[in-house]
């Protein structure tokens, strides 16, 4: 049996004990090294909360979350987060910092030597398809949505984390830029072989980028499948997603 790098055991998450419906209920999930997990679900299905449990932005009400076999409650939270890249929709870039300052922030906080930071900056910016010198002094407001997204990915990769968490990373983009950046992400992921967990409500994106798709509905995991298996799932929620994206062919056997 393979060793999971991230493991959720019977996780419950509830905002208060008074409100009846939990955000997450009885969620168990094992993520193996090198996998790319797509957390697919509608708004309010709990997928973003699940992601935030992994880097300790949310604490499980019960159950446990393990990263590198250690409970997140036992981790030094700063150490955990610095080792886990985090990409959120474009808003997450710091508006008062240049592209370079944004990207180099975590290595700086980790007290890397200056020359190592410089070379890492060049490396990650090239990896996301941006010219390091052109963008170095630009501010996020001077970038297009797609460029901001790339910088966001570069920033998450900067400190070379083993795990990458992405919350609808390409959600705010137009379809053309989105397709382009998805292709690049596939190529990049092939090279860097990170463990990636990403949240999406787009079934096409989940099938394209994920090595495994985890379907969430009302705080529960209702299906886990490879993209290949996913299109044949009979679960009604899975069917709804596929039907909405007109991907139902080959399903009715």
């Amino acid at each position: 049996m393979t060793n999971p790098i991230i493991e959720l055991r019977q996780v419950e998450y509830q905002i208060s004990t008074i409100s009846s419906a939990p955000i997450l209920a009885g969620v168990s999930l094992r993520v193996n090294r090198g996998e790319t997990i797509a957390l697919l679900g509608r708004s309010g299905s709990g997928k973003t909360t699940l992601l935030k449990l992994i880097n300790g932005l949310r604490r499980a009400t019960s159950g446990s979350v393990l990263v590198q076999k250690r409970d997140v409650l036992d981790w030094n939270i700063t150490e955990l987060r610095r080792g886990v890249g985090y990409v959120i929709q474009e808003i997450g870039l710091f508006p008062h910092l240049t592209v370079r300052e944004n990207v180099c922030l975590v290595p700086q906080l980790e007290h890397w030597p200056a020359d190592r930071i410089s070379s890492r900056y060049v490396e990650v910016l090239q990896a996301v398809g941006l010219s390091p010198s052109v963008y170095s002094h630009r501010y996020p407001r001077e970038l297009s949505g797609g460029q901001r997204q790339r910088v966001g990915v570069a920033r998450a990769l900067a400190a070379d984390p083993e795990i990458l968490l992405m919350d609808e990373p390409f959600g705010a983009l137009d379809p053309v830029s989105r397709a382009e950046i998805q292709r690049e992400f596939l190529a990049l992921n092939g090279k860097m072989s990170k463990t990636v967990v990403f949240v999406t409500h787009d079934v096409r994106e989940a099938l394209l980028l994920g090595t495994r798709v985890v379907l969430l509905d009302s705080g529960r995991v209702i299906a886990e499948a490879t993209p290949h298996e996913f299109v044949r799932l009979a679960h009604p929620v899975a069917r709804e997603f596929l039907a909405a994206a007109e991907l139902t062919t080959g399903a009715q056997a």
Binding site: L57, T78, E79, I88, G92, H96, V106, L165
Partner: protein, 210 residues
């Protein structure tokens, strides 16, 4: 004698009074900012302290300025006749806009940005100084700007307790029932206020991050 004649014939005295006024305001503003901004940083994460500090600053602001100067005179150390008492009063007046804007600026940073910072493994201190403070700087500057304009006006009353400044002409003019003498103090004070508003406004815009 009209105001213009009076001002040209007393230009040396007016200039000296303007300089005095400016020094009074500058010292008060530096002290108020040195107290208000760090205090704002301290209260942002402490709701109870915040309510208390903002309430005290608000109450101070409601005390009529002439009365505040009067109250301070009999106090030991900080009171008495002269510029230092005036500075204490001016600092107390300038505190509220600076404190309030510092707090508002720090607490109105987009929560998504703060969560990104937290998710990147920045400590609370690092988030405060590297994210919140720079993003709040233009709002803080707006508070300093408001405080400066208020202080320039209130400082004219400081002449009543012997602190000098442009208020000297105003009080003298009132006693002499002479508009010309009053204007000799009021016009330079108004110009100072407009200038401060304009220059600090420029600074505020430069600090703004969009």
């Amino acid at each position: 004698m009209n105001a213009w004649q009076f001002m040209t014939s007393h230009r040396v005295e007016i200039l000296a009074a303007t300089r005095e006024h400016l020094v009074l305001v500058l010292i008060s503003m530096v002290i108020a900012a040195a107290i208000g901004v760090p205090l704002g940083l301290t209260i942002v994460g402490r709701p109870r302290l915040r309510a208390g500090a903002l309430a005290v600053a608000s109450v101070l602001q409601t005390i009529p300025s002439l009365a505040l100067f009067g109250f301070l005179i009999p106090l030991p150390f900080i009171g008495g006749i002269g510029a230092h008492t005036a500075i204490v009063a001016l600092v107390l007046y300038a505190l509220l806009p600076i404190l309030r804007n510092t707090y508002v600026g720090l607490s109105s940073v987009d929560p998504a940005i703060l969560e990104a910072a937290e998710g990147m493994g920045m400590s609370e201190q690092q988030i405060l100084f590297r994210v919140r403070l720079p993003l709040a700087s233009s709002v803080i500057m707006a508070g300093i700007r408001t405080a400066a304009v208020i202080t320039i006006g209130v400082a004219t009353i400081a002449a009543a307790i012997g602190a000098g400044g442009l208020g000297t002409f105003i009080f003298r003019g009132v006693a002499m029932v002479s508009d010309a003498v009053i204007l000799a103090g009021a016009i330079p004070a108004a110009i100072l206020a407009l200038l401060a508003d304009f220059l600090l406004g420029l600074l505020e815009r430069r600090l703004r991050v969009t």
